[in-house]
Symmetry: D2
Subunit: 438 residues, 4 copies
Amino acid sequence: MVPRYARPEMTAIWSPETRFAIWFEIEAHATDALAELGVVPKEAAEKIWAAHEAAGPFDIARIDAIEAETKHDVIAFLTHVSERTGPEARFLHQGMTSSDVLDTCLAVQLARASDILLADLDRLLEVLKRRAYEHKLTPTIGRSHGIHAEPVTFGLKMAEAYAEFARNRARLVAARADVATCAISGAVGTFANIDPRVEAYVADKLGLSVEPVSTQVIPRDRHAMFFATLGVISSSIERLATEVRHLQRTEVLEAEEYFSPGQKGSSAMPHKRNPVLTENLTGLARMVRSATIPAMENVALWHERDISHSSVERYIGPDATITLDFALARLTGVMDKLLVYPARMQKNLDRMGGLVHSQRVLLALTQAGVSREDAYRLVQRNAMKVWESDGALSLLDLLKADSEVTAALSPEEIEARFDLDYHFKNVDTIFARVFGEA
Amino acid sequence: MVPRYARPEMTAIWSPETRFAIWFEIEAHATDALAELGVVPKEAAEKIWAAHEAAGPFDIARIDAIEAETKHDVIAFLTHVSERTGPEARFLHQGMTSSDVLDTCLAVQLARASDILLADLDRLLEVLKRRAYEHKLTPTIGRSHGIHAEPVTFGLKMAEAYAEFARNRARLVAARADVATCAISGAVGTFANIDPRVEAYVADKLGLSVEPVSTQVIPRDRHAMFFATLGVISSSIERLATEVRHLQRTEVLEAEEYFSPGQKGSSAMPHKRNPVLTENLTGLARMVRSATIPAMENVALWHERDISHSSVERYIGPDATITLDFALARLTGVMDKLLVYPARMQKNLDRMGGLVHSQRVLLALTQAGVSREDAYRLVQRNAMKVWESDGALSLLDLLKADSEVTAALSPEEIEARFDLDYHFKNVDTIFARVFGEA
Amino acid sequence: MVPRYARPEMTAIWSPETRFAIWFEIEAHATDALAELGVVPKEAAEKIWAAHEAAGPFDIARIDAIEAETKHDVIAFLTHVSERTGPEARFLHQGMTSSDVLDTCLAVQLARASDILLADLDRLLEVLKRRAYEHKLTPTIGRSHGIHAEPVTFGLKMAEAYAEFARNRARLVAARADVATCAISGAVGTFANIDPRVEAYVADKLGLSVEPVSTQVIPRDRHAMFFATLGVISSSIERLATEVRHLQRTEVLEAEEYFSPGQKGSSAMPHKRNPVLTENLTGLARMVRSATIPAMENVALWHERDISHSSVERYIGPDATITLDFALARLTGVMDKLLVYPARMQKNLDRMGGLVHSQRVLLALTQAGVSREDAYRLVQRNAMKVWESDGALSLLDLLKADSEVTAALSPEEIEARFDLDYHFKNVDTIFARVFGEA
Amino acid sequence: MVPRYARPEMTAIWSPETRFAIWFEIEAHATDALAELGVVPKEAAEKIWAAHEAAGPFDIARIDAIEAETKHDVIAFLTHVSERTGPEARFLHQGMTSSDVLDTCLAVQLARASDILLADLDRLLEVLKRRAYEHKLTPTIGRSHGIHAEPVTFGLKMAEAYAEFARNRARLVAARADVATCAISGAVGTFANIDPRVEAYVADKLGLSVEPVSTQVIPRDRHAMFFATLGVISSSIERLATEVRHLQRTEVLEAEEYFSPGQKGSSAMPHKRNPVLTENLTGLARMVRSATIPAMENVALWHERDISHSSVERYIGPDATITLDFALARLTGVMDKLLVYPARMQKNLDRMGGLVHSQRVLLALTQAGVSREDAYRLVQRNAMKVWESDGALSLLDLLKADSEVTAALSPEEIEARFDLDYHFKNVDTIFARVFGEA
């Protein structure tokens, strides 16, 4: 975890305080269930909760000290609980194994992390939707291969991003369901010493579903899918961040990250306004994505389990969720305050001497009976002249002066192909698909 | 694509023949839609299909030759179609862009590949279910950290694998839906020169859903999710393969890959029966998984699109699907014919002098009023003696001779904790969860 | 292997013909060594070579047929050699194990592949050096964060690329040495049944060094390092390709990939000249890089060996080397024929109204006694005006009109900071460092 | 950074205190160089050092506060130095750019980290060498595919690990040299405002070499190579850790991680001694390895630089080096105190009824004139009987009772092939290769 890329709410999920609080809940709920089943005294179960209420937050230094001796985290925790609770503590952890606690706790943490990330995505979607409608018909050049192609609108760019993050939201909902399971099934998952109803009870209390079959652990294909999903989301962040970085290039400058008054862009070049937030997001995306492979390597545990996954999860559990939370919030801020320059967009649109309309002319020629090959040749030879003039010549003028072209199309017919609005007639249709309404 | 890890049905999806056939379908259906909209003559649309019927399979060498000259694959294809069709061919590709064809084709290919993989998973699930019921109550030692823990059944191992691959099946269904979209939206996705109804028509004919908003291309987050899902599935293959490899170790030998009469295990050591199929699956899993990161790196295309994703997909499209298909089939064969040795499982279960029952004794002591710490100490000191005797001493005998233990539990009470069936009482419950019936 | 990204010389290394030819050499040289040691008859060793000469190329279909039965590739090969050679063939493979042949063969293949890649790098370096000197003093804007910074020369960009690929060459030499080892040490690497001098003899004949200690296999850390090195080289390819893609953007257009007369850029927009080669290189770089992780996962073989690495290497051995060879050659072609536009570079340099000189003014102010903070503030306030004018205002004019600035610097002193050559005075020094001569 | 997997010395390299101390050294040495060149007053340079001596450690909270306002770390630092130093501070950072400081600092940090890692490797190598000689002739079964193959010695296993880590040491020395460069070349690397002799001076003071050509930054192929090298080293750690995990399996138990008296193996199964340290190392290896791809993705910065690499390096710089340092130390501890059980190794060697000698018999038959195919068949049919008896039958007895075998070999000749020492006759040779002496 890198503090500068961390926000408090998500970070808190991974604190020792939160972890021990969840462990206690799992253990105490399980004891309640055992009490209901008549396995342990009801009073003991009640006493455990009461003692916890009375004692307040756990003494993490004390737990650490015990673990240093026993080299076992759950035993250290239970020993500490025992110190706070008295003899009733012996009714905790009955028939359970450490992984019942650890894995169910991780499920709670990942579910909570997912909830924060879903809220992050909702905020991002809201901003993207707003910017999409704001610039629904703001003309800008569409580019393929970095080369001017045909006109689009800036709102369409935002709608594309919206649709992509809406998909990511749906994927994260699925990934959350995948990891939000509770396993309390004992040393090798057979419920030898614990009734399956305890698992069901605790799952219900914690808002988890029951793990249908565990070994000692919850199977790690679930977590692999979860972290892979975060990797996909981060790749979408990289895409939108890359778009902003391109738009902010000196030569393009169609949009800029908001630049606060006190901010210094460069120690050496004070005029510079750098897209540092989106560059940063590009790097953060690489990090979130890098959790994918170790999470997948964690799947093939030996037999009923080994513990090789544990250290990996100590890194990627916090790092991937905290970083993605930060990145989504940062991206939301960037998009919210993004400075958009429609005049510059129009200027860029015009700079190519009308080449962006070449496709329409090509089609018009074809429809006027010219073969595809000839039409292509006619348009290309005029387009090349414009291109080589660096925008000084006008495609419209050249076409009107080309006798082979005018043999097929009248000057008016040619001019009609240079109309910008022509390109935007289906924007409503696309918005209706993406947002449910035009 | 490595031929020895490829099966014909999946490989055929990626052949030039299939690709061009799909391209033709996309183009011809689109022309049908344009005809219905009155944009092109109905007779032309019909002629295109008829000429294709008459001409038969495409001449791939001819298309390659044209591409060598034009350096553009879709133009080369259309030129060839024009040669076969006559002047009506000019009504093909009206208002479309190459990516409309390429990306929709890839969607069809990935959907078909998914269907094969889903069928592969169904066959694997069927085999795993059969083996699970066959060995539902075959006792075997459960191991954590590679160390004997407590008894499980071999059927439970199979049920775990079944549940994991059932999850993978559900994930693949979702991933298939993610990539099975049709985009026919023109040069920058604005439908400037093509009616959105053409897209809807073609999508319907090809069994795809409509891409809500495309740029020039279908957004690559869809493909990233698809390949990440294949990576998760392959990691599950690695897990089950690793289990078999462990079970076949000389010292364990609880199961073996089927060994055909003509097979030679080693050029040097003729007695050897090596788990070469599951070792191979371990390697294949690494390869399928390795497609995940480049697929994610493909997401951040520049602006409306660049073509950096294309070369990546030429590798991972075929490689990941063909390899996963092969791996699933191989794994199914391994599990179908796996030689299972219950007698050896029992022998291994017994070799630890009853240590596997220590947890039960620990619990009994706790329930008899001994503190958790004392109970742990009592069990551990006897367990250690057994452990150090390499199974020569019996935990049951030692416990019955330990006065601190017998102060809390009678010999009969101790003996009752050494019953194997005790561990299997919830197997029905687990099977009911996994298979819907016990 | 994707045929369109493969060149014949590198592809041939991975053909069955080459593989079997290398296997034969290993086996026959080993038998020669055994003959020298008096273990097998000299005439037998000679007969083996002679029979091979007489029989010509191996019958691959026949070997495949035998392997289909025996399921063992080396046994199939030896059986076929035996068919061609007669009874003397029994003196082949004495005391050896399959991996002796397979791993030493892979070492030969990777060494040969390295030699091709080193030659590729040499050609690329030669082209980069030529372009560097050609444009040693061609002014162009240096950009950080995509924003104009200060002047550089196009030759410096080429020198940077040269230095980077020169480092990559040195790394590949080291990686080649890492994998070019010969192991002929028998079933578990103890030389139980074969004299270590056989290994030394074969190593010498094949131009390999002796593997100091093998198990059954050559340790895979060597191969991991090799493929990681290819991954680094491919990342450098991505860097240079990305530079070209940026330079070819419509708004930048300082350089372009060579565009051949017959080439069509887009089926829809005939005026487009897309940087498709460098975009393609970006994708190929992702693929070469993706071999790194599976190669690293291959290191942890079980005990003296398992065969999980083998399938991975069947993919990445050919794919990574063939793709990298193709990519280096393509990059060399791109850089060789790159269209460079100095006039456009100058135009871009000028478009910012002299902002690129702000750093020099900042320094001059500091040296004239203004505090760093004040100097920064003075330059920034004028720079911001230029920036907001989109290059219409001139920084030089504004500074000369700013009384706080002129209080410290005379108009002449300010003007002196706007000299372009000032920035290039150390180009010779840098060239001398990179190329050994200015 | 996960505290439990961190050691203080390596962690300190990445603390703000160390970073700012290095920044100061770079800046102050640069000012010294400028003073020598006569660009700034000598007294100012001396005053800067003196003020630093007097002021003591930097006030990190103060620097953070300034950065919160300026959003620029180097400016914040310089402002704080200015507060401590007085007006002479204006002679710091003359002609430099932030990256000059940041990248050179990273070079110092990675060089220091390398030195710690090299010392770690030295300690590991020393332990491996000691254990290798200790068990140079301790017989143990060699296994391929997890199946018993032929005898090796435990010392050979250690020698293999030694050779592998010795290679890793050499690789790290190369990787260290790759990243240990100093760049002080100004805003776009042209030395426009700073003399190249400043760079040379600072490089010399800091023990770095001069970066021949930088842009604004040190090229990231250097760092990619560095982290890839750490990835290879971690993969070797995984290999040795996996070996220990296998050896500690209940059924194998040829070695065990040292088990301290106070340690509890499992909360549920007190008899268990789990190889938790090596399992942990397996997971840590995955993490170190996962830095490789983002480090490679960092190479393709845009033009002269973007800052996307920075956030990645804030994670992987500390994480990969700290984790690898911890892992190497942990592995050294494991190997140092590893409990090795020669008696159990012998027991395992014997359990296969002599099958491990089958290869020698095969060879003896071949040498006695039996064809390879027949010899294979003879040995295999007897070996299969032994195998199926689970070690109850003896291969020696069966062979002596097989008339086809005895037709070629006398009983004495057969018995001679069952001698264990035969396998170890070249151990001295191998040790001499690995350690330079037998």
